[in-house]
């Protein structure tokens, strides 16, 4: 107990929020004029600068992405001869580390950080995110989804925090047990299916896995209308405001009602992997999942080959993770080159085929994927049509309120 308190105390020393600085360019270690860089002259300016730097440090917060980045790094080092120092990190801890370093005015330990899409509000408010309009100057971002180019989940970032990987929450099922005719298409049908097949549907606890957090927000999107829906999708709400609303609002009664009925006949699980494991054990036939994680599990033979995915009307949450350059990064040019390659068509296609990692590129058609992979992805008739943007602070608020209003009652 003491040890735990000590650890928390030590971590917390670095946790106080820093005042927000929003200078035009906040990059500290620049030896070229970034405001002069355009898509056209990008390589002329950046490549020599990057080669002069010689090395670039990259953080990856997503455990399952290690092999994808290894692939990218191999390509990057071969093409530019710039050494990549790679580290897997725990997102929450790395964020706090960067915030502390920023506050102290020291150089950042990382140049290109692959971070959670939902971390932008925290990181930007602490001034950690370097003010670089990546989506406007990186040549490989010329086909970037305009909806994501300037803002993310309702928060403007000016191109400094571009998603390079999209992922989608979904309903996954073992087609050996769920016949095509029985497959639910709406949230009402899902509840009906669960009532007909008690304890065969797995719902991830929202606070323990994004597939559950995405699901509860999707349920809310489906059942809320009018002003209630307006608040639900109000991205200007802070986390505290969202929590207060979720705890108090009458608007969410249909959501709680849905969960009360659903959890009477469905299994609440301890995490994304927990749900998948139970489906693999044939204890569950259907559950809330992440599309890309399913692919990893299938490749590792931890899910049956009969596993399939679908999305419910009127949409389920899609999210993504971003690359950004910290304001105090030391090797900005190399970081720019690395991110440029990460969003390149070749690597994005490789990532989709191997990791079921969706792309923010608009030119990545599904004919680039082998049929063998395609059957494990969301079918084209539901994706991207039924993909709804995530609002993680609201998801978390709903998850906490669910614990309070339904689970603990």
């Amino acid at each position: 107990m003491t040890a735990r308190l000590l650890a928390i105390a030590a971590l917390a020393l670095s946790a106080t929020t820093a005042p927000v600085h929003s200078a035009e360019t906040n990059l500290k270690n620049l030896d070229f004029d970034i405001s002069k860089v355009t898509r056209e002259n990008f390589y002329d300016i950046v490549v020599p600068a990057a080669k002069a730097e010689g090395t670039v440090t990259m953080y990856n917060f997503a455990g399952s992405f290690g092999d994808a980045w290894k692939e990218l790094i191999t390509r990057f080092e071969a093409k530019y001869g710039i050494k990549v120092e790679y580290s897997d990190v725990k997102g929450a801890q790395a964020n706090q580390q960067l915030i502390a370093v920023q506050k102290a005015g020291e150089d950042a330990p990382v140049d290109a950080y692959f971070a959670g899409g939902g971390d932008y509000p925290l990181l930007s408010s602490a001034g950690v995110v370097g003010n670089v309009p990546l989506t406007t100057i990186l040549p490989n971002m010329n086909n970037y989804d305009p909806a994501l180019a300037q803002s993310l989940f309702g928060k403007p970032h000016g191109g400094a925090y571009p998603l390079v990987h999209l992922n989608q929450t979904a309903i996954g099922y073992d087609s050996a047990f769920v016949k095509p005719g029985d497959l639910p298409k709406t949230f009402d049908e899902l509840l009906a299916w669960a009532e007909k097949n008690p304890m065969r549907l797995g719902v991830t606890l929202p606070s323990k896995g994004g597939s559950g957090g995405g699901f509860i927000y999707s349920v809310a999107l489906n059942y809320l209308t009018g002003e209630c829906r307006t608040t639900l999708t109000d991205y200007t709400l802070t986390a505290e405001q969202a929590t207060d609303w979720a705890m108090a609002s009458e608007c969410l009664e249909p959501v709680w009602d849905y969960y009360r009925k659903l959890l009477g006949v469905a299994e609440l699980t301890n995490g994304n992997a927990d749900t998948l494991n139970l489906i693999n054990n044939q204890q569950l036939y259907m559950g809330t999942v992440w599309e890309d994680q399913v692919m990893t599990f299938i490749r590792d033979k931890q899910l049956p080959e009969t596993f399939r995915l679908t999305l419910l009307e009127n949409g389920q949450v899609g999210s993504g993770d971003a690359f950004f350059i910290p304001a105090n990064a030391k090797h900005v040019a190399s970081a720019l080159l690395l991110i440029d390659m990460a969003i390149g068509k070749d690597f994005q296609a490789w990532k989709l085929e191997n990791k079921a990692s969706r792309s923010p590129r608009t030119d990545l058609s599904s004919d680039l994927i082998t049929p063998e992979t395609a059957k494990y992805l969301l079918p084209a008739n539901v994706y991207p049509r039924l993909s709804a943007p995530a609002f993680w602070d609201m998801s978390k608020a709903l998850g906490e309120a669910l614990d309070e209003k339904v689970l603990s009652q």
């Binding site: 107990m1 735990r4 928390i8 929450a92 054990n281 044939q282 204890q283 978390k396 689970l407």
Partner: protein, 284 residues
């Protein structure tokens, strides 16, 4: 300076410094900073809201109850196994040496490994289920079950060696003569055990109870992985709050858990003050 050093009060302070200073710096310091942290808002103003949340939110209150439950229940089950085990180990039997070495192994296994073992072995449709399925048998729900049976069993598995070790030495600390005296005074084996050995081993047994209670009350990995998604014990909720960056809330929960542990410790001291006999005196 010299004169000051000769002052007995100064000398005493200097002599106490290494011990008390260590406690102050490495125990008191974090505790006080956690206490202060738990009473502050982001703008450093005083608040009780983090404590208020613990005692008004249903999730938190259930978390506190669950923490206590996950602390108490395994202790009782472990006790029921450990006392007979401690007595068995005292006897000589075939393979005793091997058993003596083996039974301590779970102590070396980290909680998270135990939790993953339970998931792999005892999950429905897991390893054990598949092995016994051909015989028409199936495991009851041990993972994510409402009563936390899986959590309790995993904690028990991990606690038994530690508890047995302490209880064994508590019994071993009772001089043989005292047992023999009881027997010669007409007490059967059982009466000797109940009226003489158990009371004399009580300080050791209660220490074992206390340590395992505090250990399992604070354990995180097992309830997080094996336990039901709801209710979650405070330890699991603490990590959740920590990941959310609500450090003040984490501090407040830590303070409540620590206070509870301290209260149990004080109760322990009060209870054992009367049993804490010096047994060595008789052997002087």
């Amino acid at each position: 300076m010299q004169a000051m050093l000769r002052d007995p009060k100064v000398q005493l302070a200097l002599l106490l410094l290494p011990g008390v200073g260590y406690l102050l710096v490495f125990f008191g310091g974090p505790l006080v900073s956690a206490l202060i942290g738990s009473l502050r808002l982001d703008d450093s103003s005083f608040t009780l809201q983090w404590y208020e949340r613990i005692f008004t939110r249903a999730t938190m209150l259930r978390g506190l109850k669950t923490s206590i439950y996950y602390g108490v229940a395994p202790v009782f089950v472990s006790l029921v196994v450990s006392v007979p085990l401690a007595l068995l180990i005292r006897q000589s039997f075939w393979g005793r040496k091997l058993f003596n070495g083996l039974y301590k192994l779970p102590m070396a296994v980290p909680g998270i490994i135990v939790a993953l073992m339970v998931i792999i072995l005892a999950e429905r449709g897991g390893f054990i289920d598949r092995v016994i399925a051909p015989f028409g048998l199936s495991l009851p729900k041990l993972v994510r079950d409402e009563w936390g049976i899986g959590v309790i069993l995993a904690s028990v598995w991990k606690q038994i060696p530690f508890m047995t070790l302490i209880i064994t030495s508590a019994f071993a600390g009772i001089p043989e003569d005292i047992r023999h005296a009881a027997r010669s005074l007409g007490a059967s084996r059982l009466s000797t055990f109940v009226f003489v050995e158990v009371p004399l081993a009580m300080p050791g047994i209660t220490a074992a109870i206390l340590l395992t209670f505090i250990g399992s009350m604070g354990s995180y990995a097992i309830p997080d992985i094996v336990g039901p998604p709801s209710p979650r014990p405070l330890s699991v909720l603490m990590i959740f709050e920590f990941n959310e960056g609500r450090f003040a809330q984490v501090y407040a929960m830590g303070m409540v858990l620590s206070l509870f542990a301290v209260a149990v410790l004080l109760a322990y001291y009060a209870l054992t003050a009367n049993i804490g006999v010096s047994r060595t005196k008789g052997d002087e």
